[in-house]
Each structure stands twice: as C-alpha cells, then as structure tokens.
C-alpha cells in the first residue's frame, strides 16, 4: 500500500522539473493548505479538499471532504472509485492528477495546467495592446460596404432597368431601386411621376429629350418657327460655346430644349420660375439679329421695354368694317369705335346725368352719380370687361319709347335702323285717314267747310301732311341730337340705302401680345389708370401707358413695388390663356365671381 507522488513543475523557460516521492500510506489528503500530502497552491481548491484512498490492490477511492467537487476525466463528481491500472485523470482547480499504477504503488502525477492568472497566460503583445482586437477589421468592413453599395445602389437598378418589359402599358414602376438615384423631389406638376423615372429617362445614358415631354404636353405651342428661333438666339461667347460643346459631347440636347428652362428635381412645390434673363437673352437685342422683326427690343420691364402698342380701330371702311392697327400709345391713337360717348359727362357728379342717377338709383343701384361699374360689367374670370349693352346698361336713361298704347310703352328697336324707320312711319300714318261721313252723300257743300278746323281742311290736310311729318321724325331721330344720333354716327340715305348708324366695335382686349388681368388689379381704383373723368370723346383711348404701369411694376429683381418678370404678362408658349406666372398665382387670387368694384 503505497503512493508514488510525482510533481511536475515548469521552469521560467518552459523546461519540466519532475520530483518523485514515495509515501507509504493508504490515504493521502489533497488541498491548498501547506500541510496536505498533495499540496496544490491553487485558490480554486479548498484548504482541505479531498482524500485519495487505496481500497484494494488496484482500487482507489477519491472523495471530496468539503463542498467543492473535482473532475474525473472531465466529469464533475464528489466521489469516485478508480481502477488505478486502467488509469484516470483527476482535475482539482487548475491542477491535474494522473492516476496510474507503477510497480506495487499507485502513481499520482501532479501538474499545474492553467496559468495562475489571466495575465500570466501567454499573450500576443502587439495584438492585445491594439484596438484591432476589439473592432471588425478595416478590410472586411470596407468590402462589406462596397459590396452593399454597389449591389443595392448600382447593380440592382441597372439590372432592373435592363430587364423591364419593352412595351408595358401598366402604369406601375418597373424599375426597382432607382428611387435612390433621384437627386431631389419632382415639382408638384410631375409629382405623379415620382416613382416612374423611366417615363422621362427613357433610354440609358441618353438625356431627357423633348419627345418625352411632348408625349403628355402635346399642346405646347412653339414659341416661334425653329428657323426664326435659331436666328434670334444670341451666339454664345467663348465660354458659352465651350460649355455648349461639352454639353453636346455628353449628349445633352439644346439649346432650346424643354429641359433648358423646365428644370426638374429641384424639390417639392412649384417648378422653379424661368428668369427674365432667359427672355432677355434673345429679346434684349433681337433687332440686331432679326432686322425684319416687328418686335421691339425688350429686356426689363422697368428699364428696357417699348411703349404699349394696343390694337386700335384707326378708321371705319366704307363697308362698315373697322381698319385695325397696332399703334404705340406714344402716338396718342384714337379708337374709332363708332360711338359718341362723353365719359366726363356721364361721370360728373353735378349735371343732369347725376340727377338722373339719383332719381333711378333706387331701382338700378346707382349712387349719387354714375360710376364705372354701373355700365361696365366684368367677365366671369374677372380678367376683362363685357361689352357695354344698350338694353341693360343705357336704356334706363336713354329711352327709346315713342308711343303708349293702353298701358304698354312702345319702344324703337335698338340695333335695327330699318325697323326704327318703319315703326316711325307707321306711327305717323303716311296713308290718308278714313274719309269723314260729311264728305260722302249728296249734301250740299258749302265753301266754309274748307276753313281751318273744318272737315275738309282736317281730312285733306292730314292726307297732305302725314308723310311729311314721318320723314321729319325720322330725320330728327337720326340727327345729332336725335334718339339715335346722340350716341351713334348716323349714315344718311344714299345710293338706295336708307338711314343707318356706323357699327359699334367694343374692343375686349387691346393688348393682344401681353396679358392684363383686371382681377389682379382689384386693389386699384379705375381712375388711377383710366382717366375717364376727363375724356370728352368716345374715341379717346383710355389705356394707361408704360409709365403709368411702371409706378408699381419694375423689372425682375428690381426694388419696384411689384417686381415683374416677363412671364407675368407674356406667354412663351403663345397660347390664349394667361401666362404661367399668372396661372401659378391663380390659387391665391380670389375667384372671379367675387369681383367687386372698389
């Protein structure tokens, strides 16, 4: 009954030192305390940890004394019997005891396996002091990011674009991932296309063409014939020509392509305004390049803009058709509209007109004198005014009544001179009256019957004078002070034609090349632009001139009360509607139906 205790320890350079000791006893104690037979200086072991007993020739019993166990071939136990000849490995904390049989003794080989502290373990000093152990490597992170970016943000959209059906009428986005390519939100007008990049970007590496725009904007008018446009465009300087050549080298369309003015991806909201310079580039010096143009040069409303040239009726032809011509307001043109109408008299606050207005005010809503609104009614959109209408706007004063039958007033027919003549003739009865009874029969006729007031005189007198009185009444009606002639220029009977009046043409829009909306100027009084109160003739053209407009309006970027770009009045795409600068403000302007005269 003996144990062979073999202790293996390591020198600093890793060499093993083996010490053997034979103990002639049947039982050995194991523990951290120095007095144990097997002294294991290991803090994981109790001072008195276990006993190893020889219980037979080859049998060995190992049992814990305290609460902590030990391991046998890796298993945790508190008590175990071992065949020493077969061998086993016991583990106590960081120590290992190999159990075996050597001669007649049970051999116990003790060695320390674990380092006594973490720091004592072998360490790669360059690695542990560096941060590299704590962070993912630069290379794998770089690769991961690169692969993620290139596959999701480049390859995916390109493959998706290449694989989309060539002809697809479904209005859904076919290209996946290209939203990440959008450099900014589209304007409100194109918001619906936000998901469908390929609607405009039709071909890869081909810039957006006009065709894409015209697919929807089929009704966009050309500004001018392409040849004229090309001639009008200012030739770029050296820098401009260089930029243009670079742009062309990269396949950009233009100049004059839709996208040159209508820039997209500038963010939500309305599309950015086209600046006045865009117009001024050509129109500022247009005469130099297009000498035959009828247009005057203009580059800034406040400083370089020609006087307005309204379309006026300069004369009335023999056939009654007016001759219309654009004349500059600087020439003080007259508008031969065919009417006789003194504005000053009608707007006076002291004369008979004003008296009449007060009399009729209750019924027609007049004030103490007539005002513009009493005759001039705006159109539904408030932009312009309806033609003044005789029946609704004049006739309450300028009555055409000439007879009363019972309770019914008979009036002359406005606008029909022939009917007027016929009605007057009928009224004055150009035929003889019915013969009185006294003139019939066989009764003796006395000479006195021919005297004034007697039957003969009355009968034959009427027969003789009736036609003459009708002619006089008609002539009176058409004379300067007559019911027709006081407003109209009458035409006397000649060449088989009877009485007539010159046709009246009320111009609804004088400035056909520019847009003017009265609704947009509601804050102003009529008189501040139209000097109607001083006008004595209907042919006075009461349009305000350029100078008058410039009291409020100046060029774009100017300090004027209303900085005005070209697009406020002029329409690049030359349709009948308002220019876009007006249209974009439409939402802010009150509906035209609420138009009230100030």
């Amino acid at each position: 009954m003996a144990f062979l205790l073999r202790t293996v320890s390591l020198t600093a350079d890793g060499r093993e030192i083996v010490r053997d000791r034979r103990i002639e006893r049947a039982q050995l104690s194991v523990g951290r305390a120095a007095e144990r037979d097997i002294h294991l200086p290991d803090l994981a072991i109790e001072p008195d940890h276990a006993r190893i007993e020889q219980i037979g020739e080859r049998r060995v019993l190992v049992r814990s004394v305290g609460t902590l166990g030990f391991t046998v071939d890796g298993r945790s136990v508190k008590r175990v019997e071992i065949d020493a000849a077969a061998g086993a490995e016991l583990g106590f904390g960081g120590h290992r005891i190999m159990v075996g049989r050597e001669g007649d003794a049970t051999a116990l080989t003790v060695r320390r396996e674990a380092a006594l502290s973490d720091a004592a373990e072998e360490k790669d000093e360059t690695a542990i002091f560096s941060l590299s152990a704590k962070l993912p490597g630069k290379r794998p992170v770089a690769w991961a990011l690169t692969v993620a970016i290139l596959s999701l943000l480049l390859a995916l959209p390109i493959i998706s674009f290449a694989m989309r059906p060539a002809q697809d009428d479904r209005k859904i986005d076919q290209v996946v991932g290209d939203n990440a390519w959008s450099p900014g939100k589209l304007s409100d007008a194109h918001h619906a296309l936000e998901q469908g990049c390929e609607a405009c970007h039709v071909k890869a590496f081909v810039s957006v063409r006009d065709d894409s725009c015209k697919a929807c904007h089929a009704d966009a008018h050309d500004h001018a014939p392409p040849g004229r446009l090309a001639g009008a465009r200012e030739s770029p300087g050296i820098g401009g020509a260089f930029l243009q050549s670079v742009a062309h080298a990269f396949g950009k369309p233009g100049p004059g392509a839709c996208v040159d003015c209508h820039t997209e991806h500038e963010g939500e909201g309305r599309m950015a305004a086209t600046p006045q310079q865009f117009c001024a580039d050509c129109h500022g010096t247009l005469k130099e390049r297009l000498p035959d143009t009828a247009l005057a040069d203009a580059s800034d409303f406040g400083t370089a803009h020609p006087e307005f040239r309204p379309r006026v009726q300069v004369a009335v032809g023999g056939d009654g058709r007016p001759t219309v011509r654009r004349v500059s307001l600087a020439e003080r043109p007259k508008d031969a509209n065919g009417l006789k109408f003194p504005h000053d008299m009608h707007l006076s606050g002291t004369n008979g007109v004003a008296r009449m207005a007060r009399t009729l005010g209750g019924e027609f809503g007049f004030g103490n004198a007539l005002a513009c609104k009493d005759c001039h009614k705006p159109t539904a959109d408030g932009v312009r005014f309806l033609p003044v209408d005789m029946e609704s706007d004049c006739q309450m004063c300028h009555s055409l009544a000439f007879d009363k039958v019972g309770g019914t007033v008979r009036t002359l027919r406005h606008g029909q001179p022939d009917q007027v003549v016929a009605d007057l003739r009928a009224f004055y009865r150009s035929t003889d009256p019915a013969a009185p009874l006294e003139l019939g029969g066989l009764g003796r006729r006395r000479p006195g019957l021919y005297a004034q007031g007697q039957v003969y005189n009355a009968y034959f007198g009427a027969g003789a004078t009736r036609p003459g009185r009708a002619d006089r009444a008609i002539a009176t009606a058409f004379s300067d002070k007559g019911v027709c002639g006081e407003c109209h220029v009458a035409t006397t009977p000649a060449g088989g034609k009877g009485w007539g009046v010159m046709p009246v043409h009320q111009t609804a829009r004088f400035l056909e090349k520019g847009w003017f909306s009265h609704a947009a100027h509601k804050t102003e009084k009529c008189e501040s632009c139209h000097a109607a109160g001083k006008s004595t003739l209907a042919s006075d053209l009461l349009l305000p001139d350029l100078k008058s407009c410039r009291t409020c309006h100046g060029g774009e970027g100017s300090g004027a009360k209303v900085a005005t770009g070209c697009a406020l009045c002029h329409n690049y795409h030359a349709d009948d509607g308002a220019p876009w600068a007006v249209r974009r403000k439409a939402a802010q302007v009150q509906p035209a139906s609420s138009w009230q005269h100030p």
Binding site: R32, A34, P41, L43, A44, P47, G66, L68, L116, S117, D118, A119, A120, K123, E125, I128, F129, S130, L131, S132, A133, K134, L135, K138, V141, A142, W143, L145, T146, I149, L150, L153, L154, P157, I158, F161, D178, N179, A180, W181, S182, P183, G184, K185, H201, A204, F205, V246, A247, F250, G251, K252, T263, E266, G267, A272, A273, P275, Q277, F278
Partner: protein, 290 residues
C-alpha cells in the same frame, strides 16, 4: 555662400517639422486659396434656377472633387514608400491633409446644398465622414502622444504586462492561506482579462464591471474596520489589490489613448473605400438617367 547656408538651414528645419507645418504651411495656404476661390465663384456665378450638381458649375466642382478624392486615396499606396525631398511622403501627407479639408468646401458646394435620401447624398455623407474622421485623427495625433508618454512613465508595454503578472503572482501567493470564499474573490481578480471589455470600454476608459475593483470592495469590507496589525493575510491582499488597481488604471489609460489614436483609421479607411463605391454609383447613376 549665404544662400547655401540658408538652404541648409531650411532643409534641416524641414526635417524637424511635422507634416502639418511642412514648408511653412505651404499646402494650408494653397488649400485655403482653393476654398476661398471656390466660395467666391459659387457666390458670384449666377446659375439658374439655382446652384446644384447638375449645372455646368456643379459638374466642374464635381470633376475637381472626384479627381481630388482619387488623389487623396492614393496616399494609401504612396505611404508604403518613404522618400525625401519635394515629393517626400511628408509633403504628400501635408497636401493630403489640407487638400482633403478643402474638399469640404468643394464637395459641399458641388451639392448646392440639395441633400436628400439618395445615393448622391450618401457619397457626400461618406466624404464628410472620411474628412471628419481624418480631422479627428490629426487632432489626436497632435494632442495625445504627450499624454501617452506621460502615462507610460518610461514603461514599455511588455513591462506593463510583466508588472501585472508580478502583482498577480504575489496575489496568488498571498491568497493561499485564505478561506475558500475569499480565495474565490482573489481568483476572480486573477481570472480577469485586463485587455477584455468592448471597444467602447477601451475608448471611454470605463470598466464598470471590473473584477479587481469588486474584489477590493469585498476585501475592504473585512479590512476596512480592523486595524492593520500585520496578522491577517487579507491585509496583504488589500495592498496587492490596491496596487493591481493602480496598475490597471495606468494600463487602461494607455489602452484608451492608443485606441483613440487608432480608432479614426477604422472609420477613415473603410469609409474611403465605401466612398469610392458610392462615387461610382453616383456618377454612373447620373449618366445612366442622364
């Protein structure tokens, strides 16, 4: 004679100057000039409807920017060969730093401040990340080496580790007479990995679950109230744990300073490579949907 003397002095001065003050801040002046010029042109050139990357001016800045980025990235290759002179690595690094900073102006004005959730802004953001991490790197290189040296107190890293091992050995020895549970407390300190913890622990220098600190607390519960008569082995443990904690504090300060000196590169380098990828996606996508 005089001129050669001056030249020699200058050469010597240049040898001692860092890359930041290389050649009398030559590249700082050049980069500053470029930035001011770019800002002036940005303000003075009237691009309609407004500045963005898609105007001729935007494309010009973009082209300059991408050329600059490629050249800046080339430092990664260039730094592996050290040469002296006008094209020395120091000159190159100086230019890298200052031209890289001017890229903040060039790149940002290229965007026209139109930023969004897209590949273009991703490229800009990565560029800014690279530049700002580089700026951080310069800042720590300027400030931390002194602190690092002071903290080390002429110890090498190997000596720090050996000092820790020595304390551990003494702790192990001193703890032999202890009862099981107190021995466990000391063992927990011995088992502690002084280099453990997360990257955040390293960078912040805070280790809230330090086993040594916990062990010292446990020991102090016993040793605190009693007089130190030299009989109780715990008194020695107390002293040793205290020394270990001081050593750990020095080691951790060292690790923190080293981590701060290193960490910017873990952003700068991968972000640069990611930036190149994002730039490729940015440029290709622009021309793809031209």
């Amino acid at each position: 004679m005089r001129s050669t003397q001056i030249a020699r002095q200058e050469r010597q001065a240049a040898l001692h100057d860092g890359f930041l003050r290389y050649a009398g801040y030559k590249w700082l002046k050049i980069a500053g000039g470029i930035s001011v010029f770019t800002i002036l042109t940005y303000v003075l050139i009237d691009v309609t409807p407004r500045h963005n990357g898609g105007s001729w001016y935007g494309y010009t800045l973009g082209t300059i920017g991408v050329a600059l980025i490629l050249w800046l990235t080339a430092l990664g290759v260039r730094k592996r060969t050290m040469t002296p002179g006008r094209w020395s690595l120091k000159a190159w690094t100086s230019a890298h730093v200052y031209l890289g900073l001017s890229l903040i102006v060039i790149g940002t004005l290229h965007t026209g401040f139109q930023l969004g959730w897209n590949v273009h802004t991703l490229a800009w953001a990565l560029m800014m990340l690279v530049i700002l991490s580089g700026l951080f790197g310069i800042a720590v290189y300027a400030a931390l080496p002194t602190q690092l040296s002071t903290n080390r107190d002429q110890m090498t890293e190997a000596q720090m580790l050996e000092a820790l091992r020595a304390i551990d050995r003494q702790l192990h020895e001193a703890a032999q007479p202890l009862t099981s549970d107190m021995a466990q407390v000391v063992q927990s300190s011995l088992d502690q990995d002084a280099f453990g913890g997360s990257a955040w622990n390293r960078l912040s220098g805070h280790y809230p679950r330090c086993a040594t600190a916990a062990a010292l607390d446990r020991v102090r519960v016993v040793t605190g109230p009693q007089a130190d008569l030299g009989h109780d082995p715990l008194e020695k443990i107390d002293t040793l744990l205290d020394r270990k904690q001081a050593m750990l504090a020095r080691l951790r300060r060292h690790l923190r300073l080293r981590a701060l000196l290193e960490v910017w590169l873990y952003v700068h380098v991968p972000a640069t490579i990611a930036l190149l990828a994002a730039l490729l996606a940015h440029i290709v996508s622009v021309f793809f949907y031209w």
